[in-house]
Symmetry: C3
Subunit: 245 residues, 3 copies
């Protein structure tokens, strides 16, 4: 355990033996950090909230949380979490393994996230969203949840496995983005997007199957499903499963 | 007064008796913090600037400023200010009571804000904006102020009482958004929006009266004016006034 | 050298004599900071990365880096760098003199930037971008680099001298924004923009020459080229060169 002497660690927090915690960090009472995690400087973990369920913040093994990030209590993450700088995650966020959360991404809590899903920089995730496995969310995407704001009737959207949500898109409340779907950059999605379909524009319209997009670096090959040619950061057993599936 | 021993507090700052200030905070000279305020960790309050008027940063009673926020001198806030994490507020911001400023929202200063106005996450407020009372601004909205950038002739917009500006909208310079108006999510507003009218699209067009929107959770009832059914966080005397108004 | 006693400075970092470093900062090993620089509180400079080239983070003379900013090793900046709060700059960013980086702007690295270029708040700069001199980028602009995300074939865009990219615009991958061009606010640029042309809309269309825009504060005068009337913050010798050019 390599905890910087300036870090303020609650004696009630449960921290595994070989965890690293950087300077000027705060770890509150209701926190469990598993083996191999590295916490950057200036973070605050386990912020108390009356909106949680009393459960701790649970960070799975081998996480890397970069500097200035803030996590509330009552959220849990599988192994291999990676964040950029200044990530914010509120209570009742339940995520699988190998989640990536980009710099300044803001997860408002009451959210479910599968395995190997990746949020790039400065994504806004409203409450009640559900993300599958291997979802990609690119910079500055906003997931809204209020059909007529402000109201008390918040409605999340479901983003299915392998979907890719292009940079600066806006997803209106209560939608389903199908498996393998592509939302083009800066689109405003107001209707469901079917499996392996492209949504493009403001408002987004169906723009054909994702299989119609050819690779810019190999023009005779299809760009989607992306898992046929893009594997950076996925372990071998995952890629094998894709190839056999 | 519960000031964490790691916080750096200027002896010239004026801090009421029962204020809480978190670890690794900095409070500069020209700051007045009233009773009952709670300042989260890693904040910097009262940043000096030659662009101010020499007046202090004044934080009214019972504020809650969350971690990693930055406030400049020469701004003032009524009672009950609440911020998310990493709020930034520059000089010459003058706000009424019960202002909410979301995580990563960036108020550039030289701004007037009424009572009970709420900015959600990551809003950008250019200089010279005027906000009324009970205004709602949802995530990632940008208020611009330069008709032909870059120039020296910055022009703010006026957002009237009870207006709701949907997520990811852009407001062009020099506009008036009328009382109770609704800007739909991701709209780009290039013209004035009338009282209780809806603006929608890119560029935003008049899309009828707000009274045409029905509640998703009570389809026989109108969604606007929102104050008829949405009262979360407003005190009883405010709601009574709305009902009698 | 005025280094706050709470700052953590590597003895291997090279820091000039009259540098100021604020409280709760971290300066890692592989950093060179030139004379006259002022580093605000809660910054982290010289973050180690396996994606760099081993070279240090080099901050030129008289920089002002505001609080909570994060810079990686293997990037370099000419004299007069100014940042807002919470700037993030990753490795292999090479910038000229008098760069401005606004609050929460996120430069992903592997980027070239000329002299006197200015990024306003919360800009996202993907890898492989090239910016000329005197470029203006306004708040919440996103520069993308992946033609069919996710992929391994990232393609930057080139933004030429004096171009102005309006707030909340999105620039698709692999484009050229010509010298003196204007991208109107909230535009989605999918094609090259010619020299001194206006791009406007979603998708952005050519909207005539920039010389067609008249000044709002002097209606008989053209608003572009902006350097004819806007000189705030540029030194006299630069302005003289513009006038003679």
């Amino acid at each position: 355990m390599v905890i910087h002497p300036t870090a303020l660690i609650s004696p009630e927090a449960s921290i595994a033996k070989n965890v690293e915690i950087g300077p000027f960090c705060i770890v509150h009472d209701n926190v469990k950090i598993a083996e191999g995690c590295k916490i950057g400087s200036h973070c605050e973990l386990g912020v108390k909230t009356s909106l949680g369920d009393g459960s701790p913040l649970i960070i799975g093994e081998n996480a890397q949380i970069r500097s200035h990030s803030v996590f509330y209590e009552s959220s849990q993450f599988g192994t291999g979490l990676v964040t950029g700088h200044r990530a914010t995650v509120r209570e009742l966020t339940k995520a699988g393994k190998n989640l990536q959360i980009g710099t300044q991404t803001d997860i408002q809590g009451t959210v479910e996230i599968g395995d190997y899903t990746r949020f790039h920089s400065n994504v806004f995730v409203g409450q009640h969203m559900i993300f599958g496995d291997f979802v990609w969310v690119f910079p500055h995407v906003v997931f809204t949840n209020d059909p007529h704001p402000p109201s008390n009737h918040l409605v999340g959207s479901s983003i299915r496995d392998f979907a890719a949500i292009g940079a600066k898109s806006t997803i209106l409340p209560g939608l389903e983005i199908g498996k393998g779907a592509l939302v083009a950059a800066a689109s405003v999605v107001t209707r469901d997007v079917g499996e392996d379909r492209i949504a493009l524009g403001h408002p987004a319209k169906d723009s054909g199957p994702t299989s119609s997009v050819m690779r810019s670096d190999a023009p005779a090959e299809k760009a989607y499903p992306w898992r046929r040619h893009f594997r950076r950061g996925y372990p071998e057993n995952v890629v094998k499963k894709w190839l056999s599936g």
